[in-house]
Symmetry: C2
Subunit: 550 residues, 2 copies
């Protein structure tokens, strides 16, 4: 027996339609790469998105065609989010922080038909241009007034918009239709595309907005600092339309001062970014003796939030931290570390310990942890296993890699090692490829790195498993000294005592000038492992625990 309710597909355009009808007067504020502050409303966003959809049609962009962007967080990028997906094309947000070779590879793999880019990326696009065989049109996201002289056959965004009427009607189609495409940042091998659907996007948006996720409402002023080229800015460009929140888009200036000033000026209540960006804002506040006066919630993801940051945001600024976890393959929202009813009477320290975990599943997402042969492990906060994810906004296959099924028994292997406690709070203890297997037992490289980083003399640390005759693999700590610090290897190892089990103690410490970093700011351990793989083997002249390499 079939239910008798209305058949309405879940479409990205329905989010914009809702925002226009029910929150038409709500503001969207953008700091433009042109330098000024731009303001308009959801009503304007809807009108200009319709014009842009008409312009895409005029450019011959058909349903399913990939529309690439190289852009910061701004209103024109938001218009592309709705115009491209809403018209049935696929929005492909390219990460401009990648190496140009990777960008060229990704744009070719996606076979993008048109490339929209911010003015700041004009030199980059000129460099890339000759290698982008699929791209038929280039559009600079600016107006004539701001163009630097002759730009060849590049189209101008505002010209395209101005030529259209806005009388466009958003088409209705199957909600399984692809809406957007993001590539994983993959620290090894070529990036892989994740192709979201309208259905997965709208369901994910509901999940993002729920009270135990970001808890978004029409009373909020929301600033997504996390880039719109990075997993759809964690869903905020969609969620703001769903709930009618004010939107504040910070453009290209992501330093602590710029963000702090914009946040205060626009009375931002919720902002979302990675720990290093939050760190910049906190440092600015500290140096200038100022406080966050309007911010209520800080969404922190992309990397583990240090416990000290949790405390500083709450105790100094009265900000509630929402520590979350997700990945490109999970749209990205998977978990948030929001306390439960059971935590209402715990101490601050106990609560911070809960919030420092990656968090619990929002409805729709499910997780499990398994051992090396796939047996599910208990949720006791101690057993660590391979983290597997499942849900309507989790990837099933990679774009154009349909032949290689990444799933195991219907679950997506995240590549993380994690524990889950009895309350369902998940904590990542390592990446699967980084976990150190010493005599068959696992040692968490992240735990050891965190301890090393908490030493005042250490600026950066990476812990890797290197070959060992007896234990197969043992931990080696590779660290960068803080400026003017004189910590020694022995001193650092002594610092570990009492903090971890004896057999977890790194076998040696190597001092280096810097650690290799990937395009998204994560340490690349593969080159370290290659370089130091024989560091503990007898054939190699053993360097003392204070060895320094350059």
């Amino acid at each position: 027996m079939i239910g008798q309710m209305m058949q309405q597909p879940l479409l990205v355009s329905s989010l914009l339609r809702h925002a226009e009808r029910h929150h038409g007067g709500q503001e969207i504020v953008s700091r433009r790469v042109e330098g000024d502050i731009h303001r308009y409303t959801f009503r304007d966003l809807a009108d200009r998105s319709r014009r842009l959809a008409q312009a895409l049609e005029r450019l011959g962009i058909e349903p399913g065609t990939r529309v690439a962007t190289l852009a910061w967080n701004g209103y024109r990028h938001l218009e592309l989010y709705y115009a491209a997906s809403g018209s049935g094309a696929v929005l492909h947000t390219v990460n401009p922080r990648l190496h140009p070779d990777q960008m060229a590879w990704i744009i070719a793999d996606a076979a993008d038909d048109v490339l929209f880019f911010d003015l700041t990326f004009l030199p980059l696009v000129r460099e890339l241009g000759p290698r982008l065989a699929s791209v038929r049109h280039y559009v600079v996201m600016s107006d004539r007034e701001h163009l630097p002289g002759d730009i060849g056959d590049v189209l101008v965004y505002e010209d395209l918009i101005a030529e259209e009427s806005g009388s466009y009607q958003w088409p209705t189609f199957d909600e399984q239709t692809a809406s957007s495409l993001c590539y994983t940042s993959g620290t090894t091998g070529n990036p892989k595309g994740v192709l979201y659907s309208h259905r997965s996007t709208v369901l994910h948006t509901f999940a993002v907005a729920l009270p135990d996720s970001m808890g978004l409402s029409a009373s909020d002023s929301v600033m997504p600092v996390v880039p719109m080229f990075h997993v759809n800015a964690w869903g905020l460009p969609y969620a703001a339309c769903m709930v009618g929140a004010k939107v504040v888009l910070p453009g290209a200036d992501l330093d602590g001062r710029s963000l702090y000033e914009l946040q205060e000026a626009e009375q931002v209540t919720l902002s979302a970014s990675v720990p290093t960006v939050w760190q910049g804002q906190l440092r600015h506040a500290q140096e200038h003796g100022v406080r966050f006066t309007t911010l209520e919630r800080a969404v922190i993801g992309g990397a583990a939030c240090p416990s000290s940051m949790l405390r500083e945001l709450e105790k100094l600024h009265g900000v509630n931290v929402i520590h979350g976890w997700g990945m490109t393959e999970t749209s990205p929202f998977g978990t948030a570390s929001v306390p439960k009813h059971t935590h209402q009477d715990v101490t601050d320290d106990e609560r911070f310990a809960v919030q420092a975990k990656q968090g619990r599943c929002v409805f729709g997402m499910d997780l499990k942890i398994v051992d090396d042969v796939g047996n599910e492990l208990p949720w006791n906060g101690r057993a660590a296993g391979h983290l597997m994810a499942r849900g309507p906004w989790v990837l099933s296959t990679y774009y154009r890699r349909e032949e290689a099924d990444p799933l195991i028994d219907g679950w997506f292997p995240t590549g993380d090692i994690a524990t889950i406690d009895a309350d369902g709070f998940m904590q990542i203890t390592d990446r699967s490829k980084d976990v150190i297997k010493s005599g068959g037992e696992w040692i968490s490289s992240i735990d050891l790195e965190n301890i090393a980083m908490s030493h005042p003399g250490i600026a950066a640390a990476a812990c890797i498993g290197v070959r060992h005759r007896k234990w197969d693999e043992r931990p080696l700590l590779v660290v960068v000294r803080a400026p003017d610090a004189d910590v020694t290897g022995e001193g650092l190892l002594a610092y570990f005592e009492g903090k971890v089990a004896k057999w977890w103690l790194p076998d040696d410490v190597v001092f280096v000038d810097s650690l290799p970093m990937g395009s998204t700011g994560k340490v690349l351990k593969a080159p370290l492992r290659e370089r130091f793989q024989d560091h503990l083997m007898p054939s190699r002249t053993r360097v003392s625990a204070t060895s320094t390499e350059h």
Copy 2:
């Protein structure tokens, strides 16, 4: 191009599965009709729901079969919600407050196969039994210990549960499958069935839980006082599982004292019921000089919330009122009167005026107002028109009435007259059939009733349009005097002056001992209109403005 995310249908069982895995230890507290307080967890709910699903299978209940309930809010009713829908059968919650003839008609129309009922309804079921041809099994929702001697061939709920293992696996099927069935309370004509789907139910649940709706979280203790036999208790039995909130089910005792004591004992943070039930709790608090110490939010729907109630809950008890609107045909959640960013600096009085409206659309629901010929009217807070609704949890056709399409241009006509303001806040000014058309202009019967009811000498009021030679129709006020009051018709009409336009003033006032009420506590205007239709016609001997009829 099709997106490449996991294909997972939106099923009612997925809500329970989530609650069991991620909130297994959360409490469900029920006041039983047996008299005591019962406590268990989501883990127990999931286990017993699986056993019940096995029992349904053993009774020969097949997918699509209707499973009827006559029950108060309690854990066994909750188990039926999940076991019936989760197994692919259709949960049909019958309203025990209807007239037995209507109940028999509804059960026959639904062709229910099995009837589960609370012990308190045993006499009713015995009375109805001979007329329920479709019902093959009767199950009393109790255990042997509480049975009143011989119950014939009625099955016992706890016996059924005890015989099963709980090893049941929830089946996966098309999310468009019917999940549950509710009948409209229809004040005229036979009730009509609304057949919800799994998809509509899960999407509705997301909407209910959003911050600008009920804002539900795992920190909440939620008490649905609104009956589970009345439009699925406004979605709370599903939403509590989605977010992992504590659930408090009040059973059959809905008087002010019982509810207040349970609310305090179980630290309820959110409760939901109709104004008259809230009134009982407020009266109890006033008479005993007590306060609501844990309640944070009061969800009020089913009828307009009086402004005085809004104030009393907020000012005296520190409770935030969420005034909502919906109907059986809209699952029911349609709008909530939650202020926006634009209301942050308004005065209390201005905010109360906003909250007293029926509210704005949650994402998914859309509304419009149209004139008699279907033209959309402006959203200016003044233009009143026929309210039309649309969305994935709005009815498309009535159960077994597929031949009669109730929609107009794809919109469901709610039967209400409403205004919508520039911020999207809808306010119902009348029922379409109750609006008074005087010389082609509309007069709101509800506005006139509200003014009459605010007079201290008036206990109840109904305003109806009656025939008039010159104006076609004019307002007649039918009122019940408050005990010991001596207000006259002239006095009451004088009270209206300055409160409405002169041409809105009722032409006469009739005093009666009581007003005819429907099964859900709404005044039935049809018999009043029939009785008084010629009250203003010259052929009838005109009774003075202080006329009294018995």
